[in-house]
Symmetry: D2
Subunit: 472 residues, 4 copies
């Protein structure tokens, strides 16, 4: 039905992704720095990338599908003149990741030109779209960002700062947002702080970024994480802060620590690699069959940090029993040439010398899909491992995420369908142990004042239509 | 100033270009036919191309920069499933021809999904944009098409047909427009009929196209030209006509006959190639120094038809004294290697055997730029021509066009700055003769009930802000 | 069998194609001029292109598959430093046109570095290959050029000029050849003069080229055609001529005039376009049913010149009844969407206004394949032509060519299999008339002291193994 | 001088690189397996790749510049039909890595078609080239492989096996070679065994490869390393071995263990990763200032294995103090935007949490260039490290390699120019320690019966012209 179609936009992307913004007092060629920034955030999204810049009351933009290096070259970067800019990398699970859904979004309205880039997911975007369309708005994309742009354009406040606050009071859900105007750069984070946003400085320039690794590449200094409900306004005079909405309890997405962020990034001073080591250590503490393990082997790269912590705590040898191929290629094998576990083997090669005759602990951050784990276990056993015990440095994901993490892809929620023992059987391991939710939350409480772990518990911090949740 | 910037959108394209639409009762793979249609209209625009299709209440689109063959390949075409579709080729004079300005435009509004493609130029689009922005609309492009889309979205009429008519009553200027909804294909032409639009039929399918050559490639039949102020609505039951606005005097753009259309197209039954021959014949009749001519040579391809008519009427030998190179290439010559007239020579090679010791009449449809004509004359003289007389099968363009023809590029209005004799001197010809406006209008009166020749006369059929005209 | 395989190299290309060479006394950037030269010869081969340059005792080369513009860009051209260079465009009928078979061929031998480019076909290359292989030579390609290179390397003469003459005394067949050494540019033409070679001059630089149009693009002057059996040696002191072998009777390939060369080229002062007009005139003189013709229509572009001559001689109106589409595209039509004659229609659009109710004379230079001609006739009749009479401005090709023309592709020798009347029936024309061999030879005798027309007559000027001829 | 030029071929590539061959009894589509094989050897050469296949007395080939995935796609792979095939990846240090120098080399000679692929470097290729050219051979490339091909073509033996042995008796130096004929696959290793060659089996198929990781990807079984001076002949009946030349002392290149091979490969049963750990352990044993170290940090990826062994032996914490960016990008930074150590920072990010206030041991396999190490040290100190001690798990390279390792690139032989202390100063480390040659040789003696470590000692196993050695 047509009405429904408008309510649930086709191909709605899950807006993980990364954002970056920089305002420089005297640089002309900001785009080359924004390029470095979003390049360092490439792991947050590989489907598309874009940069918008602002100079002398004029905004310009370039975006495209694919990796940052595919979308930009020297000619394009040097054509994007400006002293302030924002950039975005996009992650999308839809097959046809359309160009129109790449960010930033550049629009013209009565408020002049605006560019917006957004990381997160609004939970009431469908209601807002319906309302806006009924009042004559037209939509070009299925982006939440476009909803926010319309709200700004229709706000009665003429000042962009006030109009933005007015608009954000209407949206619900997870968002970290950068807004570029002809003379301002604004960054905001939702009142729960679901998605990260960092503030940094390089000489006279100020920087906003999803992760601190984007500051490191520029040799910039970390100032602090933007607070939940805080707005940072950057202009020629430096930056100002407004607590545009009261902070709710901190609901920072715990999956940033578990998997999503780069290990060399830090949030609120907590280095991701080290937190992952602690997850591994806690996991080892929770394990009862430690004596059954001869060697601890990380599933590279995702399980590396946790495995180190696990091995240390378990006092077991840490060895690279699966080595990674630097060059990931394609296969043109036809069915009659079937090679067992080829797809996994293209990435990881099991080391007979390390696993043969051993009881091997494989450490990973999560179970991506049963089939991949199954191939890993089979491959390691194929090299002579006596037993393979699988350890996962996070709890089972049993509930969908509404705040921007596309859990359905990473897990297809296998844990919502099957018991741990059924999963163990499916992957062919001798044992399977997940980190406990309590163990995880314990660590997070120490690190951050709180976190969002609703995908493990189903305890959502915002009102969620339960029917939709089940529908998902 | 910011306000001005919004009034005069940066990079406003001159919307020449070509449109095509087809509604089929039983075909699934309409895109392959729309592809053929816009490919045959490629001469109307080489900057970008797009196709939108509709199937089972869903619209899909693909567009890109460059030639039709660059933008589409077999995989893309076969992914565009649908039984109705519209296509567009875009012409733009702006250096940075942005992707966001390609058409069709696909939007979602309270009326569902709509795709629009447009050929022409609105004279009041800036006023409409300002009004819409002030009422909360946001713009993604500088396209007139987006203005029309906003007007439709805001119309109080819920029926798309009525909403479209309501919107068109607000716009002024030149437009031929196709609109694709989930179950309709609509074509409209402005009440002056500035830009062409043809209706055709192939079995049970109906077709709308800028030129009849798009029907020929499909083996489709010509029904008739859409009338000024007429709307054609195509659905499962065939097509209906509504005279949504009274016909004004016919103001069909005469440049379609002179230069723009493909010679094998016809408008209202008048074949373009044959009309061009008549222009050539009329020109010969107006010429006083016919006895000074030994041989009539067309400047290929633009002057071919007129030269044939000219030679026939003048009873002078028609010869290919300038032969065309099929492969147009680039040059990597550095300044010290200067080769005279290289750029023109890459395209046309003068034939010594034909021009040597002759008094040569060069026939072209217009003077593109003085420099090119000058190189042609020099080259022909370089091969031994005794005299070179230049004949132009249209009058001097002295006024800008507001209805979609980007005259400033084709002529940079040399004739507005200089007298005919000054131009002659600049190009180095022994004589220079343009077709008279009277001669041209005489022929057009015969062919069409009228035409727009305001670029020759300055006599604009719609209200034009004279200041803007001068500003242009 | 292995032995046979070596005798008949797989994928032996028919070496039509074009060659160009230039020796400049003081230019460094010769490659940009060689690029222009081979670009103007693009019509002689679209399968591959290459340029070799020589500077300060060093040869460098770049070559690739596809059009000249695909193979070269500014960076490549400017990297090819040198003051002398040769270039080649390649024509190949083999599906897998391999890179290794592109020219020039650059080799190192005891004589230093040599680059060779060759147009033609040796009739004894298989025997020579067998001999060379038996004496320890290894072959990388199936090029005749490589045979010549081996002969040079094995010649007892240490001087390159003498070694080349020694080698050419061993080969039989058709060749025009350019050889570039570290300090010389040499051009040779076989003693029959099968394939063309022109000598030109631009200031202090001398030029060798397959056609005179390559001189025109450079603004260079034509000196004369290289004579059969003549060698031109170009170095710092200008050029020298050696009649290295006695001239045989002139056997210049008549197909250069009929079809292959660019119309704006001239051989021995005879302009190709004008000679084609004479073929058309002669054809009209030979036709008996002239009174049955209302209008003369060229099949563009190949029949254009002949049609002009035909119409003039026949005193019938010459009209563009088939108009050409500038943009040749692809089709993604699936079988159920069958559009009649689509492939031909993509190139040529019949003009109802010109052919309807007329008895149409279609003029072409040859019958490419029955199917194409058949579609043309059907299309013209589909637009209402009363009768369609087909006229071909050359005789029926009844015998294979051994001298470098790949007749099997252009004609698949339909005339060797069928009578003229059977062909007429196959293409659906009301009559079909070929130019007579006598008529053709009459004209050629006037223009050149002789020509090779063995593909029409089977009268080969060199010993040809008749069995192989039949085998072909 | 010309003569010299021929003696020292321009752009002589250092033939590191990887080779792979497979002979299958019943497979048609061998190319897809050869593709997997050379893809797994990608780390041995990224400049070019090629595959030759043999089927029914016919050889076919495809090769190109760049990565395996760039050169091949599904269409190409499926066009390469055959049941036996060889592949090659090429490493080259010459700026203009020419296509003609990619391998395999496919030639035709009196022995039929042959394809050859070669890893290594001949020390007498220049003398052989001169001899061959003087006897009429022509060369297309600067490959040693072409020298061998000429020797085979000129051998008096008609049998390919005998001809190959005859030829190998003439060459001196390092080579592992695969030869593909119409019905055989042959692998040979020089009598010193400089470069590796492994024999494996998958069902009825036999495989030759530079490294065992190429067997793993195919799920094939390792049989054994091909012996120095051994020839393996594979045909329909399986494989045969011939000791075609007496084994010299084993001179297996120790750099395969140190750096070149993939860590998951094994030679003669010795896993590379584990051997590297032993190098690290030995290095720790040799170090005197162990007490000055707080944390052991590998320079990823090259120093990973050694660092693990080092940390274990030194009983110091092993930590990832430099984290690697998965996405290596480009930089478009202009000079005024200078960011310190940007190039290194694009690859490795120092972890303040791990290195701050610590005395850090950085472990790498070798010093690539002083500048890179210098940037690393500076970066680590910039994050607050108290001291940085650099440890290298191999001895200083003081002599050039003549057997296929391009040492000049990896080291520019900094250690031949400067003392260890001078190098330490240049890189800014607090101390610098190399593994001792004795320590290295001790380990190698255990693992292999011997090795070539002449780049550390200058003690070359074959006659080397000392002047050339100095010249290099």
């Amino acid at each position: 039905m047509v009405t429904n179609k408008r309510l649930v936009p086709e191909g709605k992307p899950k807006e993980e992704g990364g954002i970056f913004g920089m305002y420089s007092v005297d640089r002309e060629n900001i785009a080359s720095l924004v390029y470095l920034g979003i390049h360092s955030l490439q792991h947050r999204g590989q489907e598309g990338a874009g940069i918008a810049v602002s100079r002398e009351n004029e905004l310009d933009i370039h975006k495209g599908k694919g990796l940052v290096d595919t979308v930009f070259d020297e000619e394009i970067i040097s054509s994007l003149k400006g002293r302030a800019g924002i950039g975005h990398v996009r992650y999308s699970t839809t097959g046809a990741s359309k160009l129109v859904n790449t960010q930033p979004l550049l629009i013209k309205s009565s408020r002049g030109s605006l560019a917006l880039a957004h990381n997160g997911n609004l939970v009431n975007s469908q209601e807002l779209r319906l309302f806006l369309e009924n009042n004559g708005s037209i939509f070009h994309s299925s982006l939440d960002t476009e909803v926010i742009a319309h709200l700004i354009a229709r706000s009665p406040y003429s000042d962009i700062e006030e109009a933005l606050i007015d608009s954000l009071n209407k949206v619900k859900g997870a968002y970290s947002l950068t807004v570029l105007t002809e003379d301002l750069l604004i960054g905001v984070r939702d009142p729960y702080g679901f998605r990260p946003l960092i503030l940094g400085q390089k000489e006279d320039s100020y920087i906003l970024a999803s992760e601190s690794c984007a500051l490191d590449i520029l040799g910039a200094d970390y100032i602090r994480d933007v607070k939940p409900g805080e707005m940072i306004i950057i202009d020629e005079d430096g930056y100002r802060s407004r607590q545009y909405m009261p902070i709710q309890e901190n609901r920072f997405c715990v999956f940033e620590y578990i998997y999503f962020a780069r290990p060399d990034s830090s949030f609120n001073g907590n280095n991701v690699h080290l937190v992952r080591q602690e997850f591994g250590r806690q996991l080892a503490r929770e394990v009862e069959n430690l004596e059954d393990i001869d060697v601890v082997v990380p599933v590279l790269d995702s399980g590396l940090s946790a495995a180190q912590g696990f091995a240390e705590e378990a006092e077991k040898p840490f060895q690279f029993g699966l080595l990674k191929n630097r060059y990931v290629g394609r296969t043109f094998i036809d069915p009659v040439q079937k090679i067992r576990n080829l797809k996994v083997r293209m990435k990881l090669n099991p080391m007979r010398e390390i696993v043969a005759d051993k009881r091997v602990a494989l450490i990973d951050d999560s179970i991506v899909r049963g089939t991949t784990s199954n191939q890993l276990v089979e491959m390691v056993k194929g090299e002579g491992a006596r037993e393979v015990h699988m350890f996962i440095s996070s709890p089972p994901v049993t509930h969908p995420c509404f705040y921007g993490l596309d859990t359905s892809t990473r897990e297809e929620l296998i844990a919502a369908q099957k018991s741990v023992d059924e999963i163990r059987e499916e992957i062919g391991a001798d044992s399977l142990t997940y980190l406990s939710l309590e163990g995880l939350e314990e660590i997070m409480k120490e690190k951050e004042s709180g976190c969002c772990s609703s995908c493990f518990s189903g305890d959502y911090p915002t009102d969620i239509d339960r029917d939709k949740a089940l529908l998902k």
